[in-house]
Symmetry: C2
């Protein structure tokens, strides 16, 4: 087994603008999928250090048997350190910007990238929460601007959020999704923009509750962490929250919500909790299409089988550290 | 490798009152740790069916090499189907009640168990959200009543929330934690009662946000599930939310909150988000004691190593299904 499908992407080059941790991770994902990469960073010498860090991380993957090529140099030879933005984007089929998380900087940088890049090339941003509507609306080629947000550490986590603005062309969005799939990642396309997107909103909601539990003296941080790492997180590592509750009642999500909605409403002292309406407005239908009740038993068995396999893996991996 | 440490618990018997899915899972955990178990359910014939289900699940564990004994019958012989409550609790060193999630039923059932059980024996409830203060305050032996809440499927998930009421004796709480550890599970002790405890509050907060995202038409349920199962859940399967963000900034959680608190406050449009104060009130100190900044690089490497190992495991386990 190895990362990526390098043979599918020969002689194609992508430009990575901004070479901190996120930019470096993108480099690894594109390199191991067979792309050439041009690195550019506005701060001098950052790309040289970035190349060193990429080398170290590639070696990690190699030591775990996750690289197709025998020689690290086969990948390093495909890294081009660009002296300026124009050099970086020249001949690139895709541009990924991973600059600082600052609206004004992102506006400025996106304008510069747009001016330097051939008009049909997608310009994706790694921003973890700023919608393209906010940073790209004044950009001439805004129809090829959108967000492709990876999750730390991005060379290891598959999910990438794809967030088009209303002005982003549908064709560009499709092209970007294909790029993401071609580097062996999992694109999640949002239907509408929202600050924080999906990943950070889910994380933020959980964190807000965790901070409240600390503030109210309910539990230690260590035990809250264990509630996830020895509890909820075991299922969530292969099954999202909706599938989890869908499997936790014989009647699926409809039954779960019927049984527990009141408990959650009282728990959060929030009369606005109205999950029943959401269930009826299409959520139950989607989940029943994905996981029918006739196959509920099979899905439960699969969940338990995956959990058993994971627990065996986890115990043996804890021993080895 | 095998579940439990059966040699440590010979000839000790526990009583399991209520034999639905949760009670059956408790049976497996106690049996594989070497205990005898008495099963009792107020509904006739439920215990007979429960024993069949326990047998099937034990076989699953056996097929995965997780049982110490060669013969399933070695475990089944240790199951006693009690004709009534008194028979079940007689000679038991521990009582776990897994009745319906209904306050009135739980009040009644706990009174009956208390009246039938020797006074020094702990009586724990599997309730997923009702504090002992609510269901046991009128019970004569309330000082030995508390919550021990497992997570579905409980024979596979290690975390068990221990929630004493203000009237629960500290000695009983310690005894229950020792029982939980002796069956190879991970007790998380809450310092104060709160409806929903920690696990369901964390799950509920994430679910509330997920339901809102569906209601607002931001994403499909399938993609929200993937944001967890192909994203956040990979880290959370071995590292809780606090350790995760502590590692996501070079200065630890203090730096993370400094950098991102404003983003979360604006994301949720909630001026009450004040994580900085919580950080200063002991959270940062606890996390720095657990994971010092001097070792930040080591912890990052360990995280990446675990992620790599887990991704290899996950890919190979997906192939096998």
């Amino acid at each position: 087994m190895s990362f990526g499908k390098q043979k599918n992407n020969p002689k194609r080059k992508v430009a990575l603008i901004g070479c901190g941790l996120i930019g470096q991770s993108w480099a690894i994902s594109f390199l191991t999928a067979g792309f050439d990469v041009s690195l550019f960073d506005p701060v001098e010498d950052v790309t040289v250090q970035a190349k060193e860090n990429i080398k170290a991380k590639l070696r990690d993957l190699q030591n775990n048997g996750l690289l197709e090529n025998k020689n690290i140099s086969d990948y390093l030879d495909k890294i081009h350190l660009a002296q300026n933005l124009s050099h970086a984007v020249k001949g690139s089929v895709y541009v990924q910007e991973s600059g600082p998380e600052d609206l004004d900087i992102k506006k400025e940088l996106t304008k510069k990238i747009d001016a330097a890049t051939a008009t049909d090339i997608p310009i994706a941003s790694s921003t973890s929460g700023i919608p393209a509507s906010l940073y790209a609306s004044d950009v001439k080629g805004r129809c090829r601007c959108l967000v492709a947000h990876p999750i730390n550490p991005p060379h290891l986590i598959p999910a990438v959020e794809i967030v088009p603005a209303p002005f982003t062309s549908a064709a560009i969005t499709q092209t970007v999704k294909k790029f993401i799939i071609s580097i062996d990642k999992e694109p999640l396309e949002l239907k509408k923009e929202i600050p924080g997107f999906v990943v950070n909103r889910l994380q933020g909601a959980l964190l807000s509750e965790a901070f409240n539990l600390i503030k109210d003296g309910i539990s230690s941080a260590e035990d809250i962490d264990k509630a996830i790492s020895e509890g909820l997180g075991l299922r969530w590592s292969f099954m999202g929250p909706f599938q989890t509750i869908h499997l936790n009642a014989p009647e699926g999500i409809g039954g779960y919500v019927k049984r527990y909605e009141k408990m959650y409403r009282e728990m959060f002292n929030d009369p606005d909790v109205d999950w029943s309406s959401v269930v009826k407005l299409g959520l139950e239908e989607e989940l029943l299409n994905l996981y029918s009740l006739e196959e509920q038993k099979k899905h439960e068995e699969r969940r338990d089988h995956k959990l058993i396999q994971f627990i065996i893996h986890k115990k043996s991996s804890e021993k080895s550290i």
